[in-house]
Amino acid sequence: MIVNIQQLNKNLFEKDVEQIPIRQGFGEGLLLAAKGDERVVGLCADLTDSTKMNLFRDAYPHRFIQMGVAEQNMAAVASGMAAMGKIPYLSSYAMFSPGRNWEQIRTTICYNDRKVIIVGSHAGVSVGPDGGTHQALEDIAITRVIPNIDVVVPCDAIEARKATLALAISKGPAYLRLSREKTPVITTEASPFALGKVSILRKPEHPTLAIIACGPMVYNALMAAAKLSNKGVEALVINMHTIKPLDQETILWAAKTSGAIVTVEEHQRHGGMGSAISEFLVEHCPVPMEIMGVDDRFGQSGAPEELIKYYGLGVDKIVERGEKAAARLR
């Protein structure tokens, strides 16, 4: 009944599913992008190992610029390098880039339409023990609101590698959002990936719900869909790896096909992926929606899984909200 159209990891629903940090995929992708195009350069604000740019630095030291703890300078330097034909990837924690250097990103990169890829790692409450100061929950909102920029949130390490490579040849600036923790590998090398065209991971014949998620929350969405199936609710699951530009065609199709939507993201409910989807649907196909995210609060220290549960993003909570959305439809 449910065809594995995306050629997902066969062990996905096993307890010992392989887990790799999403940022690792970025590190590997940057290495490949650099190998394929000598215009690729890397800039990092003193977080080279933890954003996994160290792989690139060690292989291409002459194309790596250590910026020191100076994210504002980093963004504008990258803009200057792009003006000279380079393809700069700049990495830090999402809280500091695009958090600290938002205006430099807006003016020197986006207003100038310079092709720079801003890589923000350690997004979401799953950063864990470092606490609320380091858990970016606003970065999707502040980037997607800027004209010209694309916003990409890969769901696992393999997809992060593909996204990093794809961004080297896409047009214009982009924000790539990464997570710190090891998370389940959902996709495989064979899974199709195209920027701007989101993936339908679960496609039942007669869905009465669509769960749309991004980043590591895609795994929770798939788990929730399996549980919902046992309760008689068949859910589409969409991996919203590109938040901007919005894949309007697929979103519209999902709304029309299922009639009710739950969105799940490790981000403030306000201004994030769920907001982007609702902004579109409210004009074109209003359906009952449950927008799941952190509800106007800051994060705090704790274990990642503990925090995900505390902030209402666990599998059971998605099941609960899914049932609620589907019931609103009836």
């Binding site: 504002q72 504008a76 330097v77 390098m81 000279m84």
Partner: protein, 289 residues
């Protein structure tokens, strides 16, 4: 970069005069914009565009050109006026400054006027961009590149912390082809720089960050030209030229007054300004004849 002979100085003085007249024309037509800064930088911009920089108005995307980044975008009337007088576009277009549909946005936007190297306005980001360009050049061409990367900065703008991040990095990288020029006119919107946020000892600060520092009279073509020649010759460090200028230069009622930082002259004031400029131009011609 050739030495400045007297005939060339005279030629540059005439252009700087035209640039100042254009600035007044533009501002009075727009009825908004900044007066003092642009008038103070007429010599610096004229010298760069008409003598120092390697560039070609007919080929604005020529790869071998030197780059000029205007960091303090609000003084763009002097940039636009100098570019027009250097042949990038018609002088008549200057009167569209700040108007709807104009290529001459209130603060520079390179998507509207593609011959600009960057967009600017929000302060403190220009030096980083010029530095990024120089870094890219270093990666491609090593230390023997003959392209220079100029960045014009305001002095009040140095309040922005990002400049100091860029200064540290440029010092570490010893980017000899990066040349910053600070418009040391001592005013910013809220008053005199030393009252708002003291910058002195400015020379020592740049020096401490690894820069070769020069201080000159920013209205003296020979002194500026010598400083730029020295900046190009220094191979071990980036150079900053602290150009001491008089804000509102050559318009007596504007000179040195912070209140003229951010407003345009009214019609009658503009008339007075143009008269003053014309009288002075007559004197200059007299001296040279």
């Amino acid at each position: 970069m050739p030495h400045l002979h007297d005939k060339k100085v005279k030629e540059l003085e005439v252009i700087a005069h035209k640039v100042r007249m254009s600035i007044i024309d533009m501002l009075v037509e727009a009825q908004s914009g900044h007066s003092a800064g642009p008038l103070g930088m007429a010599e610096v911009c004229t010298l760069l565009f008409c003598h120092v920089m390697k560039h070609d108005p007919k080929r604005p995307d020529w790869e071998e050109r030197d780059r000029l980044i205007l960091s303090n975008g609000h003084i763009c009337p002097v940039l636009y006026a100098t570019m027009a007088h250097a042949g990038y576009f018609n002088v008549e277009e200057l009167l569209t400054l700040r108007k709807f549909g104009s290529r001459l946005q209130g603060h520079p936007h390179r998507e509207y006027l593609p011959m600009l190297e960057t967009s600017s306005g929000p302060l403190g980001a220009g030096l980083s961009q010029a530095l990024g360009m120089a870094l890219a050049d270093r990666i491609d061409r090593g230390r023997h590149s003959e392209r220079f990367f100029y960045c014009l900065l305001g002095d009040g703008e140095l309040d922005e912390g990002q400049n100091w991040e860029a200064m540290m990095l440029a010092g570490r990288e010893k980017l000899h082809n990066l040349i910053a020029i600070v418009d040391r006119n001592n005013i910013q919107i809220d008053g005199y720089t030393e009252d708002v946020m003291p910058l002195e000892p400015l020379y020592d600060k740049w020096h401490a960050f690894g820069w070769h520092v020069l201080e000159v009279d920013g209205h003296n073509f020979e002194a500026l030209n010598d400083a730029l020649g020295e900046a190009q010759a220094i191979f071990e460090r980036p150079t900053v030229i602290i150009a001491h200028t008089v804000p509102g230069r050559n318009v007596p009622y504007m000179e040195r007054l912070p209140e003229w930082h951010g407003k345009p002259p009214k019609r009658d004031e503009a008339k007075e300004a143009l008269n003053a400029l014309r009288t002075l131009a007559g004197k200059i011609r007299g001296e040279h004849e």
